[in-house]
Structures are given as structure tokens and as C-alpha cells.
Amino acid sequence: MLTNKRLVLAHFWLAFASFGVALVLGAWQMFVRSPLNAWHFNPEFYYRSVTAHGSVMGYVFPTLVAMGFGYAITEAALEKPLIGRRWAWTGFFLVTVGAVLAMVPVSLGLASVLYTFYPPMVGNPFYYVGVVLVVVGSWIWVALMSINMAAWKRDNPDKPVPLAMFANVAGSYLWGWTAVGAALEIIFQILPVALGFKSTIDAGLARVFFSWTLHAIVYFWLIPTYIAYYTIFPRAIGGRLYSDAMGRIAFILFVVVAMPIGVHHLFADPQVGAGFKYMHSVFTGLVALPTLLTVFTICASAEIASRLRGGKGAFGWIKALPWQNPIMLATALSLVMLGFGGAGGLINMSYQLDASVHNTQWITGHFHLIFGGAIVIMYFAIAYDLWPHLTGRALESFGMMRTQLWLWFIGMIVTTFPWHYVGILGMPRRMAFYDYLNPAVAPQAFSVVMSAIGGFILLISGILFLTVLLRGQFAVRSEAGAYRFAIPVHMPARIPVALNSFGLWLALMVGLTLVNYGFPIAQLLALPQTNVPVVYVGAGR
């Protein structure tokens, strides 16, 4: 029962429109720093573009998808209209205003600080205010998800919260807490400097705060994808979810262990002690657990669906899967990319192995494969699945959808595999220019060209995606029926209170954050002489 279709559609359209713009920038960036481009542009434009691409893809696009999908889940899973419709629109409005406010100074070259801010570089205050507004808008969503679940539980004391809603609320809590790090950094460290009240900044502390956000934000991006795995995929292929409880445990594990691990981004930073780097590394290892549980459950669900369709044999059932179905295809491709990306992630989280890839293009390749690949391809699937229910019109370009998904997969592999490889060769990231004529750099040229070609394949796929959605917007009207989520093999009638509520898990999340971040932050706050002069980006000559 979707009543606020316009609300959900508004979120999705803004998300995908901004995604389209950022995708063009991404392809351009791949091109200009490749050997295909003779050096004839201002490198400042590159950093401007990277800042816009990162800010849109990292903050605006996934946040809007999670919010829109969250509202859809609330109404469809709880089978009642959303509580707080006006607040939801307010949140959307804040995200929109924030995105525009942030992008204006970036376009003008006044905030080319990249989306990870990188103090002591400091740009125009409107950029940071815009990012804060995006976060505040999304916090309204966090509150609404919690309120809607609480209201439903009050009305249905004897039923378990539907898995989709449970997972959705898990994602919202994770985001609510993980965004605090960057918010502290912006509000207490960067904005006072950007507004001119101070001219020095504790860059080390700022990086620690940002790491608080930087890793768990990836799991916030990942949660809509996992919700789609658990609650859309089994239904879409005509099967059942293998285990409802396993799903709940996976999402709970994300809430608990996705947070206290961000320092593995700071392995090369001197301001954090080696002991804390080790502790964060241990928890980073643990976060592979919910993913392994998920891969198992989803493959088991696929096998159930296949055997119901007559699939036979130890591996023969794979052939009997409905490969023509875009959701089937997207999920399979997503899991392949998740596998490769996850393997790369295990390398990044190992202190000694990280040393050889730290700050190289390997890292850029890694997060594009995981986020741009495994996660975003499921955003496409979510949009394809929800679109007929939102527009009341049939989405029938199945051939185009399959082409689009295949192109996205191929493009992402062609982009990121050479990207990883040049990282191993030592190519640094965050640079606008590489001297490919130099004998030491020349061997990387071919791989970089391959990467750039992959970028253009992705661009074509993105255009196809928007075309499918646009065609859906103008197709013939047809009633799609009620939106349903996958049913588990064993429908839980009663479940332990721990798997139906978040109190315990939020306590563990906050507790572990204090254990793993408390001392490093307190120490940096207390140490004198840790501030450095600020470098204003885009300051006039």
C-alpha cells in the first residue's frame, strides 16, 4: 500500500538526476587524467569535478535512495500510511537545498577540497553548510523511520516487525550515528575556520572524526542493497527467503560492528596509536561476517527458487534460475562484484598489506567496485522493481534493462580491475596529472586507457538506466497491485525480543564507538600544539 508515491518518486528522481550529472563528471575525470588527453586543461577543474562527483555520489545520491526506499518500505511493509508526511517533505527540501548550496561554491572553484574535506584545506563555508543540510534532512528521515516502527509496534504488539522495515530502521540508526563524526568535524572544526573565526585547525583530529563517518557510511549505502537482496530478490525470482532470522542478525551485526572500524582508513596517520589501529582492524575483520551470512542466505534462497522451478543437480539448478529477470541478473552481478570488492577490502584492512596500496589508485578502484558496482547496481534493481508501483505504469523495457545491467557490470569491471592494477604499480590517487611519457609511469598508460573506456561504458549504461525510467514515466497506465516483499520459508510467528528491537544493539554500537574512538579523540583534544595553519582553497590571488 503505497500512498505517498510522489514523495518516494521525488526522492528517486532527484537521486538519479544528480547521479546522472555526477556520472558525466566521473567519465570526464577518467578521460582527462588518462593518456587519451593531451595536457591542456587547468588541473583545478579536475579537483573541482572530483569534489562535485564525490559529494553527489557520496552524500546526495545514496542518501536520497535510502530515504525514498525507506519511505516506500515503511508504507509497503507496515501496510499503513507514513506518519510525518510533512516532515518527510521538509527533509527532502533540506536535502535539495543543501545539495544546491554545496554545489554552487564547488562549481565556482571555491571549495575544491574533495568530498572527504581534507583539512587543513578549507573551502567556501556554503559548501559545508550545504553538506550539513543534506545530513540534517536525512536525520529527519532517521527519526521518521524510528517513529513509524514504534507506532506500528504499539499497534501490533504480537507481531514481529517485518524484515524489510527492521532492516530499514537498522540502516537509519546506523546513518544517524555514523553521520555524527563528520557533523562534529564540520560544525566544531571546519566551519569556524571557513567563516574566518580561526586560522588554524587540528587536521589530525578532523581526520579521526571523519573516519568515524567514512567507513560506516559505506554500510549505510549498502543497506538498501542488502534489503533488496533479502526482501526483493527471493520474491522477484519466484522463491522464498531462506531465513528471516539470518537477515535480522546480519543487519544487527552491521549496526554493531560497522561503526568502530573507521581508523583502518588512517593506517598511515601518525596521530592515532598503533594499538587502536589494531583494534579497529579486528572489528573491520568482523564486519565481513554479516556479508558472508548474507551471501549464504541469498544463494540458498536462489537455490530454493530454482528447485521450485525444477532445477536439478549440485550446480545444475543455477541454469534453471530466471536469468531473463532483471532483478535476478542484477543480484547475481552485484554478488560477483561484492566478492571481488570484498576480497580487496580484506587486503585494505590488513595493516601490512595496506601499506603497499595505501593512497594509491587501488583504493579508488576498490570503493568504486563495491559502491559503484555491487551497491549501485542494486539501486537500479530497486528502481526497476518499485517503478511500476510508484508511477502506476508498466515498465516493460526488459531488454534494455538487461543491457543496462550488463553494461554496468562490464563497465565497472573494465574500469576498476585496471584501476586496482595501476594501484599495485604505485600510481597515487587524487592527482590530476600523470606524466605517461616518463619511463617509470609509461607501463601504467595502457591500464589507465582501459579504465577510461570502462568509464564511458558506465556512462552509456547510466544513460540507458535513465531512459528506462523515463519511458516508464510515459508508458501506458496499468495497475501493478500491492507492493510485496519476499516471504521467508518459515514465517516467524514469534521471535526473540532481541531480534525485534534495537535497544541492545544501539547500546553496543555506542559502547564500541566509545571504546574504539574515545581515547584517540580525547587525547587529540587534550594535546596542545596539534593545530596547523589552514590552506584556503580557491582564495584569490
Binding site: W39, N42, P43, E44, P157, D158, K159, P160, G196, S199, T200, V256, Q271, V272, G273, A274, G275, F276, K277, Y278, M279, V282, F283, L286, M431, F433, Y434, D435, N438, A440, V441, R494, I495, P496, V497, A498, L499, N500, S501, G503, L504, W505, L508, G511, L512, V515, N516, F519, P520, Q523, L527, P533, V534, V535, Y536, A539, G540, R541
Partner: protein, 263 residues
Amino acid sequence: MSEQKLFSFRNSWFSVSVGATVAIAVLSALAGLIWLPLAQPELKLAGIWDAICSAAGVPRAPLSAPAQQPDFKTSNVVMTADMLARKDAVSIGRGATLAQRCAICHGPQGVSDANSPNLAGQFAEVTYKELHDFKTGARVNVVMSPFAANMSDQDMKDVAAYYAYLPRVPSNKVDEKVPAPPIVVIGAPMRNIPPCGSCHGDIDYKAGSPWLGGQSAVYIKTQLQAFASGTRRNDISQQMRNIARQMTAEEIDQVARYYEAQP
């Protein structure tokens, strides 16, 4: 749902999850803060408490003798992006009077053909820093050092403000046709040389970098050679010495000729 109390050790979900979390946290802390540091003899740790402090990142006084001090003066000016950015008419006026004694070399309007730096329109923080370094001895020059020796901090700020206030005058050597050499536009990444323009103003401007347009080629070349040989050492954190040392003689010539021809 189940009426079982959640926050109670009788609830196995509670006891197992809290127990496992605490156990992992404690074990990883023991390993990371005690066992691993003690397993590294080169850290020369005095005991468990020392290991914990070291692994937690508590700064320690260096074990060996104090850090080696340079046997020459280094610049003690702290550069910030907005220093001396505010224009002050009184300061400019005082600076104009003080600058009369500079005119014999630097020209009555801050421009001269004497191969000394043209100061008209130079950033205030640049002029101030050089005067300050001449005074402290971080930069040495037989002509300039005595001039700076008796200047007060305010005098230096005033002179700097005055020269920043003067309009840049195009030198008679401006030649727009001189092409920008690669070292100015793209630097030499493999030799760790950033483009000159990324600090000196063609691409971006970084605080403390002088405006080079219209400076005498002889002066630029002499200074780059001085940085390269180490006879000039007042650049903060060896920024220019590291660059000049990596430049070829030909590049130094190109840069000097290019900037002389710029407005």
C-alpha cells in the same frame, strides 16, 4: 512479542551478545595495546604501562639526545593565508615615508632596472617575511641585511603594506609570446617538482609565494641557484630548496626568462 526482559543476563541474546562483544574488545585491546608492542624489541619499551602508552599513541619524549639543531638561522615567520591582508591607510602612508631609503635600488615607484626585485604590487606578507628574515639573519645579503637590522616589526609591516598598495607596473621586457615552459605549467612530477604556477599564481596562489611576473631574470636565476646550492635557506620547510635542487640549469634559465616577460 516475547515478554522476556531484554536487558537481563537471563536473556541469552543479551548475555551472549554483550559477552562476545566485551570479549572481542578486551582481547583485541590486550593484543593491540600490550602483546604486539611488547613483541617488538626495537621499541625498547620499559614495561606493560609503557607498552600501553606507546600503542595508545601517547607522545613520548625521544629516548636519545635532543633533536639536532641547524647551525644556521631558520625563518621564524609563520605564514597564514590571510596575514597582512587588511589594508590600512596609516600603515601605507608610514610605509611610503620609510620606503624612500629603498628607492635607490628598488626604484621610487617600486620598479627598477637594477636587477633587484621589483616590489610594486608584491604581496605584503612576502615583503614582510623577507625583511623579517633579513633582520633575524635567516636570509643574508650585504646590502639588505644592514637596512633591515634596525627596522621594527611595525616598520616592516608598513613598508610591506606600501609596496602591496603600489600598482604593478609592466616592465619594459614584457613579451606575451614567450611560451610557458613545462616546469611552470605541469612541473616535473617524477622529480617531485610541482608546477611553479601552482603556488606563484598562474594556476593557484599559496600564501608566502612571491608574485614573479616582471622580476628580473638575473635575480630569479641567482635566487634559484642560491636555493639549489643551499646558500639561501630562509624558505620554510625547504620548500624552494627541494624544488631548486631538482631543477636543471636549463629549466632555471627558462623559468627566469619566462617570468621576466610576464606582466
